[in-house]
Symmetry: C2
Subunit: 577 residues, 2 copies
């Protein structure tokens, strides 16, 4: 490519609405252009990166036996009603009506459509397993689109759907996809981590997220450096921090703690460790019992220094549809105000659930269910009945790994992929069945597998940038190499050598752009450093008189003189071609 | 590709809603699957063809200097309001609201968005010319979607937009695109014709349609076999069929023609040629004159054997916004009922426009403006004032070519591309200006260039099929070649030879599929003939014992024995590789 025939449009300053590095750099490098909130035009440079990302995904999906098709963006409501998602999904599902008033949705994913394809096309066990995927525009009407391509409304996603005869088959398909994802992210040249994830409402046995590691990532990833344990914060099991409960040594005592509603302040006031305090979180569950609406009070107990993990709460039997109690409900159930709740002496009956660590505490401090008072020396069994015990908290750095192989570490990541064992959630709802060897119908076991194609761009930049701009990995760079001739229009020597090298590089399959725009060196270098092309060769008269060109990698601080005759081989070596 | 790892799903019968050959065959071959009215999933086989079509378009567009980007599908109403198209376009523009109630459209084309990109990115004449294109999903909410991919609602289109400093530049960009289109359609391997087209409401000087020739095509294409004259029916100029008007020889006579309202019946009744009769078509034009609504009567005159061309009517000064007169209006203006109108003795004043041929007729027959009566021996100048003369009719086969180089021929075509000189219609409305050498702002001159990617599939099939199925041209076939082993699972000899040839063909860059599904020969051949793979090699034990394989082209009636050792070279020769 010649820069004079391409479109390059860089900015000195990022627009003020760009909040994070990748958004700022993509705007400044002219990779994307905002059309509306969360809606971007992919400019020529950005589109080249997208195409490379898509190309790698496509190759690895095909290699893994998945079959590409293309499902429509505009999807009839009827299919979404069959699975109930038409009603269940909130306003992020963009609904529209056609000229005849019929309802449609813009697809955020395609479970319904692919299941409809398979239920009409596949009749026999002989046709299974199958895995269909497409790389297609998606729309999700985010409440607050932000961060450029990270949380846009219109975006590109690869979504794949596997169909199997049984759970074993589904697990095999899942593993195949998992391995394909590992290959894909390795080929991108990004540092990533696959972590076990929560399955959410759908259930099933397996789900992993693929995260690009970046200190600016929204998600906390938990892993054990000594083993292959890795999970996201929602799914990471927290072991009890106290192996065995000690004996009660203190009497239960009511102490005055005026205007002291936080565990930190109570510990300070009483001169004890935060790890001696217990915080109480009041929940409400509304149930329909024989047509009557019943309200249950639940109290969760966490050690003062721990954080509640709401996903884990939903796993406690009875708490699937919990909500936090209102102040009025708290007053009614506990006879006091928030900040002084505790498990002992509640006004109404309350279901008590203690975190694993809290369940092993003795002589602990908790609210007295009376404003401005706490209890010290509280003990299970003696002062209050033994609680239900559950894992309720987020793990913290240094916790023991659930696999017993060391201590947990935490790093930040950006979720760019998700693989999911769906089981029969969709196939049962949509009657997607096959006939087995005996002619008996059975619902297919499904899996789904997504990669946020456009989000990869943002994540790759969050992981790879410096104060000059983006640093693309070779495999997904808009160009692998830029040739920067010094005086292409003025010097025959420079032009001749540039054109020769350009032709050779092209013939060798190098994705090269030559900057023939006639810019001054400073402006030219700044453009390509901002755009993030990973390799650069400068062709100048001075160097050429000694037979040399200058190579510089995007992460390198200084250029290296390379004999002109050796440059092709040198570049091929750098690119592994 | 191995068929066992691909998805092939053919049908014996097409669904009943498939009306035309290409729709039927695409459904039967499992290339597309209906999701809703005018909305199709592109199944794996169909998607392969689409990708090949896109690939050829992309290569030729890039070669022609156009730059690829990707503009969003969901576009904010504000831009469409700037050009007035938000209000002007009918319900085929699908409008929707996001969660905040803001208006958006699903793009049918992207003039507004690309003009917005360019007006903010381009400031100087130095940055021009520019040509941006994308290959993107479009939505057009057709009133009556039909014919499969021919007139769908969701479809894929390549649309390009050129921006130039002046008209000469625009014309050069237009010519470049025209030539790129010729290359594209040649590479598809389709018989096509570029015809001059009407510019419609936008005006400007140039517009051509690209049609795939097919006897089932919706459009009539007019061309001169001896020259390069070619136009669509709307735009093809009709010369007068009578060089000079003869002298009046008959007196004007009122003759009784009871219940004879059609020229054919009048001619039969009077025993004259249809080419002696003139048919009258009453129009109404409503105008606002100084705030008053004024109604004008117009009468168009065509020779009895000719057809009205409504596009040409709009070109007659004063008739841009014509409509056909109602029966009440006819009664009021002519004092009679339709079927007996004529230019002589109207009740109210009427503007008379005669087709060029009618203007040169003498002693003609026309309605008497009285029910059940016609006039014979009517003559211009003597019986009625000389009319306004215009080209009002469709040309017919055998007409003289407007370039004087022979007689016109007519064939049918399917429109798959359109190139258009827009001028400043969009740039002026959206203030898309550049600064010229003197620093003066001027609106950019634009062109737009579309190709209906998915429609190409339908058109290619309409041109290339037989009673067995589709016959794809090599360049856009889902696979170039199918290997049909007879007993792949039973015969080691067959398997060995199949695998060897398959590997060699793949290494040679042949897009080959091997049918390892274990079907019986009849079913296997029928599948591939239906799908339309253009080349087939059969590997059988009997042939192999003599060292031979069998080659058969999709259009050939019999197979040719080719020595196994020569087959690779033979195929490469067939495919020009």
């Amino acid at each position: 490519m010649r820069a004079s025939r391409f479109f390059i449009s860089t900015l000195k300053e990022a627009p003020s609405d760009a909040e994070i590095v990748s958004h700022k750099l993509m705007m400044r490098a002219g990779m994307i252009k905002r059309l509306g909130s969360g809606i971007y035009t992919y400019m020529p440079l950005g589109l080249r990166v997208i195409r490379k990302v898509e190309g790698i995904i496509r190759e690895e999906m095909n290699k893994a036996g998945a079959i590409e098709l293309l499902m429509p963006l505009v999807q009839p409501a009827e299919l979404w009603q069959e699975t109930g998602r038409w009603d269940k999904m909130g306003p992020e599902l963009l609904r529209l009506k056609d000229r005849h008033g019929r309802d449609f949705a813009l697809q955020p994913t395609s479970e319904e459509v692919v299941t409809d394809v398979v239920r009409t096309e596949v009749k026999s066990y002989r046709q299974l397993p199958l895995n269909f995927y497409h790389i297609q525009t998606k729309f999700r009407d985010e409440r607050r689109p932000r961060f450029g391509l990270m949380r846009g409304r219109e975006f590109t996603m690869k979504d794949a759907y596997s169909f199997d005869r049984d759970v074993e088959g589904m697990q095999k398909s899942y593993e195949t996809m998992f391995n394909a994802y590992v290959n894909i992210f390795n080929r991108f040249g990004l540092k990533f981590r696959a972590v076990a994830a929560d399955n959410g409402a759908i259930g099933g046995t397996g789900s992993h997220e693929f995260h690009v590691i970046a200190s600016t990532g929204e998600d906390a990833l938990v892993y054990c450096p000594n083993s292959d344990f890795a999970a996201n914060m929602e799914a990471a099991e927290a072991l009890p921090l106290i192996a065995q409960r000690g004996a009660a040594t203190q009497p239960l005592t009511k102490v005055s703690t005026p205007k002291t509603t936080k565990c930190e302040d109570v510990a300070k006031l009483l001169g004890i460790g935060l790890d001696q305090t217990v915080k109480s979180i009041a929940l409400t569950v509304e149930k329909d019992v024989d047509g009557r609406q019943v309200r249950e009070n639940w109290l969760l107990l966490l050690r003062g220094d721990h954080e509640l993990n709401e996903v884990k709460v939903t796993k406690v039997p009875g708490l699937k549809d919990f909500r936090f109690a209102s102040e009025a409900e708290i007053q009614e159930a506990y006879g006091t105000v928030p900040g002084y709740l505790g498990p002992i002496g509640t006004k109404q009956p309350v279901n008590i659930v203690a975190d694993r660590t809290v369940a092993n505490m003795a002589d602990f401090v908790c609210g007295a269910n009376e404003a401005d008072y706490h209890l010290t020396g509280a003990n299970w069994g003696r002062d209050v009945a033994e609680p239900v015990v559950a894992d309720l908290r987020n793990v913290v750095e240094g916790d023991a790994s659930p696999d017993g192989k060391g201590q947990l570490a935490i790093e930040r990541g950006i979720e760019v992929g998700h693989v999911f064992q769906l089981g029969t959630a969709y196939s049962a709802a949509m009657n997607c069945v096959y006939l087995d060897e005996k002619g008996q119908p059975a619902p297919m076991q499904m899996g789904c597998y997504g990669i946020g194609v456009t989000r990869i761009l943002g994540a790759a930049i969050e992981q790879n940038f410096d104060d000059k701009g983006i640093i693309w990995p070779d495999a997904i760079a808009p160009f692998e190499l830029v040739l920067c001739p010094m005086g292409y229009d003025r010097s025959d020597l420079v032009k001749l050598e540039t054109d020769r090298l350009y032709a050779e590089l092209q013939a060798a399959g190098v994705d090269v752009i030559v900057d023939d725009r006639g810019l001054r060196p400073g402006a030219m270098f700044a453009d390509w450093e901002l755009v993030g092309v990973p390799h650069r060769v400068v062709i100048g008269e001075r160097g050429l008189k000694e037979g040399n060109l200058e190579y510089q990698g995007r992460r390198e601080l200084e250029a290296t003189a390379v004999p002109a005759a050796d440059m092709l081989g040198f570049i091929k070596g750098k690119l592994g071609k």
